[in-house]
């Protein structure tokens, strides 16, 4: 019994100690604390990272040759570590002049040698995002010739053919364009891996923040780079904690233990909007939701049926109900904030118009359709809404719900009728989406171009493919934007794709946080302009 008594006393003491502990209510003025889901980070190497949370971290740790200014993303790319550049007459060679006086976190100067090393390294490592660079004709074999050092502060890149300068530059703003400290990285090279293994968990950048540590699925910590060439950031430390639950993120935000909550659900956002000491920051992200209609299906191959189905989608109804606060109606394949974006919304839910079109197409009595959908809540709800609204025009829909692997296999094999899909752009240039939604120059089964969405839907579009290819080469930025606008309008008119929504990201924040920019659809979050 004495043991029991002692244990009870110890337990009481522990409880008292706990309650006597001072619980801080606010984060310090020079520290930014963020709750976010960061379990998608698998590597911190810019040549390999291809995830959202990883892009956030890398954008703040690495400088790039050209970059988006968080103060005004609509300006497009501008100089970063490259101070200026010139384009050769044939449009194939771009010569970069590096910004003098910039240092890496190690203290090493940022030179053209580092830029050449970084780009060659990304091509040679050939990791998942390498296609962003290799699409310009760079390869493991030719990287040394195509990406060439001229002098300490100058280097050039030569593409295999003429591409729009804006296309090349936009691609260099993506994560893979991060410039690494060649000296630091090569010190940690192992078995010819160009420091890939080391950079997975360490950093060698020149950006606004220095990586202190990354604990997978737990947190990462950054400290301000006092020598950042744009001036030392006001937030001396940034801590991002992995918090899965929206309710938990909200609780931490309300208590003042965090400054930003990045993954709040619509209910929690509504609650936060009512609090005077909190605010909500809305941003449009790159992900779009669409349905696509396989042109191998005899009914769906009829242009009037395709159009009728676009009128049988209750865009606004879905936006205002189960997608509220998460998606916004958007009917073009380029997300808003991309070069060449349009905001035309030619379709709305109109059963009478759809019925008339179906009658003209010779299927007035409707027909049967199968929709393949992945077992994700929002996609299933969209499919159910389609089942209901298509039914109003006599189209009997059955849903085939499957895992990501199963559904994607059917889609890639071109065996679906209708597919409910989501698409996220791979890099911040319009070609990332145009090249898949509006490009399919060869529709034969043998070619198996399953990476192209137009191909997956057996939509042969030789003329539009030519226009897409031409837009990639147009040197004038405004003309190029106009070309994409025209392609999208034609796409809206006749493509077997009904683009429906664009993702909205809502971030809950303490009202005293100023200068936040989560990057829109084209880039990632910037911590350095933030003040409190």
């Amino acid at each position: 019994m004495n043991i029991f008594k002692n244990l009870l006393l110890s337990a009481t003491a522990v409880a008292l100690l706990a309650t006597a502990n001072p619980i801080y209510a606010k984060t310090p003025a020079n520290m930014l604390v963020i709750a976010n889901r960061i379990d998608d980070i698998t590597t911190l190497d810019p040549a390999q990272s291809f995830e959202f949370a990883g892009s956030d971290l890398i954008r703040n740790v690495y400088g790039k040759l050209v970059n988006f200014d968080p103060a005004d993303l609509s300006k497009g790319y501008g100089p970063d570590l490259a101070e200026s550049w010139t384009v050769s007459e044939d449009g194939k060679t771009i010569t970069f002049k590096m910004r003098p006086g910039v240092k890496f976190h190690s203290g090493n100067p940022v030179t053209a040698k580092d830029a050449v090393f970084s780009l060659q390294r990304a091509v040679k490592l050939n990791k998942t995002p390498a296609f962003i660079l290799t699409q310009f004709g760079f390869s493991v074999e030719n990287a040394d010739q195509a990406i060439k050092l001229i002098d300490d502060m100058t280097f050039s890149i030569t593409t295999d053919e003429k591409y729009a300068t804006s296309f090349v530059m936009n691609c260099l703003t993506s994560t893979i364009g991060g410039i690494v400290d060649s000296k630091a990285v090569l010190t940690h090279e192992k078995d010819g891996d160009m420091g890939n293994d080391w950079l997975k968990t360490n950093s060698a950048g020149s950006g606004a923040y220095i990586l202190v540590n990354w604990k997978p699925n737990e947190s990462y910590t950054l400290k301000a780079n006092p020598d950042f060439y744009q001036g030392a950031p006001q937030m001396k430390k940034v801590i991002v904690r992995h918090i899965m639950e929206s309710a938990t993120q909200r609780l931490l935000l309300e208590k003042g233990d965090i400054d930003l909550a990045r993954n709040l659900n619509p209910q929690d956002i509504t609650a936060i909007k009512k609090k005077s000491d909190l605010a909500v920051y809305d941003d449009l992200r790159g992900r779009i939701m669409y349905i696509s209609m396989n042109q191998k299906d005899p009914n769906l191959a009829k242009p009037k049926v395709v159009k009728a189905l676009k009128y049988l989608i209750d865009y606004k109804g879905m936006q205002d109900s189960f997608l509220k606060g998460q998606y916004k109606v958007h009917q073009a394949f380029l997300p808003r904030t991309y070069l060449g974006e349009i905001d035309d919304k030619p379709y709305s839910f109109d059963v009478a118009k759809a019925k008339a079109l179906l009658k003209e197409a010779g299927v007035a009595d409707g027909f049967e359709l199968k929709i393949n959908v992945r077992e994700a809540q929002e996609r299933i709800e969209i499919a159910q809404s389609l089942q209901n609204t298509f039914g109003q025009a006599g189209i009997k829909v059955t849903l085939e719900v499957g895992t990501g692997k199963q559904t994607l296999a059917v889609y890639r094999a071109r065996e679906h009728q209708i597919y409910v899909g989501a698409w996220g752009p791979d890099y911040p240039d319009p070609n990332t989406n145009a090249g898949t939604f509006a490009y399919n120059p060869d529709n034969s089964d043998e070619i198996k171009a399953t990476g192209l969405l137009a191909y997956r839907n057996a939509w042969y579009l030789p003329e539009m493919s030519k226009a897409t290819k031409a837009a990639v080469k147009e040197g004038d930025r405004d003309k190029r934007a106009a070309m994409y606008q025209a392609i999208q309008r034609e796409h809206q008119e006749r493509a077997p794709f009904a683009i429906m929504f664009q993702k909205i990201e809502q971030t809950g924040m303490r009202a005293n946080v100023k200068g936040l920019n989560t990057g829109g659809a084209i880039t990632a979050v910037s911590y350095w302009p933030i003040t409190k």
């Binding site: 699925n217 801590i239 233990d257």
Partner: protein, 352 residues
């Protein structure tokens, strides 16, 4: 020759001391159990509809990139060959690299397991501390209000969803009253201030002699541990009550009472003395269940333990991490079984 051999074998076997034979047989059982466990997990990992290749290369990868990753993972080899390669790697302590964390799985497990171990140990400690006396008193005062309370407590413990009760607890004690720390193992201010010695922050902060961090760690562990303790208490008190009732109805208890022994001596020395043995199994099972990692508790409290590690890995088709985590969980069960066997011998004179 055959007879000579046979007799020779017999002599050798007879010369092996019983304790060594005992250890040998235990190790053999552990080995068979672990190989069986690994085989089942491995097969489930291969047949489940998650594509580990797609998890690496992404949806928009070309066929060539997909095929290259497929071969790199060794998925083109026959299933049995893959399993044997996997076993050989495990035997060398190599669980491979996690897709999600880009680090060796063994390193990840060393990071996440102490977090779960710390939480489960504190939870079980309080579960036993309160659950055993509650069960004993409920049995002794059978039918009284105390018994009813104990049964209601156990019932609630079984039926309340942990997700709900955890969030409510956070809302009240952290959100409204501010008595405890929020989710996570420490306040943000202390992050990165504790060097990893054992991986258990309570222990490491004490070893450092930093009482501020120790207190802060307590303020964070108190609620999730209380939650686990409650679930553990519900199970332990119910089982203790049932074991005690069985003993209290035995004739030797009546004899002891007739002999004039005090109530305390009858309950604690005689009845409880016989309950200790089966109770060890109950406590070991309860502890093992918590050590497996309470996924929901870890998720709500952002506790980076083994439960959430394995779940995240499973959902992301990170099979090296899933298999590594399963080995650890399997080992935990095996070790606790061996430990409870040893305790049997300690508590039960017949087993000696």
């Amino acid at each position: 020759m055959a007879i000579e051999n046979r007799s020779g074998n017999k002599r050798r076997r007879a010369s092996i001391p019983p304790w060594l034979r005992g250890i040998g047989s235990t190790l053999f059982t552990v080995l068979i159990t672990m190989v069986g466990l690994l085989f089942v997990t491995f097969i489930i990992g291969r047949v489940m509809p998650i594509d580990p290749v797609l998890a690496i290369v992404g949806e928009s990868a070309s066929r060539a990139t997909y095929d290259a990753a497929y071969q790199e993972l060794g998925l083109d080899k026959p299933l049995l060959v893959q399993f044997f390669i996997f076993l050989l790697d495990i035997a060398q302590g190599n669980f491979g690299e996690s897709l999600l964390t880009a680090r060796p799985v063994s390193q990840d497990l060393l990071r996440v397991f102490p977090a779960t171990f710390e939480l489960a140990t504190v939870g079980t400690f309080f579960g036993v501390l309160l659950g055993v006396p509650l069960g004993v008193f409920a049995a002794v005062k059978r039918g009284s209000w105390l018994d009813h309370i104990a049964r209601v407590v156990a019932l609630i413990g079984y039926s309340m969803p942990v997700f709900w009760i955890g969030l409510i607890g956070l809302l009240v004690f952290y959100g409204k009253l501010g008595w405890i720390g929020g989710p996570g193992r420490l306040d943000i201010f202390y992050v990165d201030m504790v060097p990893t010695i054992t991986g258990m922050i309570l222990v490491d902060s004490l070893l450092m002699g930093d009482m501020d961090i120790f207190r802060n760690a307590i303020s964070h562990i108190v609620l999730p541990a209380a939650l686990l303790a409650y679930y553990s208490l519900a199970y332990i008190s119910r089982m203790t009550r049932s074991f005690m009732l069985e003993q209290l109805d035995q004739e030797y208890i009546v004899t002891a009472q007739v002999k004039g022994l005090s109530a305390n001596a009858v309950i604690w020395r005689h009845a409880f003395g016989n309950v200790k043995v089966p109770l060890v199994t109950v406590i070991a099972l309860s502890y093992a269940a918590l050590l497996e990692g309470s996924v929901l508790t870890e998720t709500i409290f952002s506790w980076p333990g083994i439960g959430s590690y394995i779940t995240t890995a499973l959902l992301s088709a990170d099979m090296n991490a899933v298999l590594g985590g399963t080995v650890v969980v399997g080992l935990v069960f095996v070790c606790l079984n061996i430990f409870s066997d040893l305790l049997y011998k300690f508590f039960d004179p017949r087993a000696k």
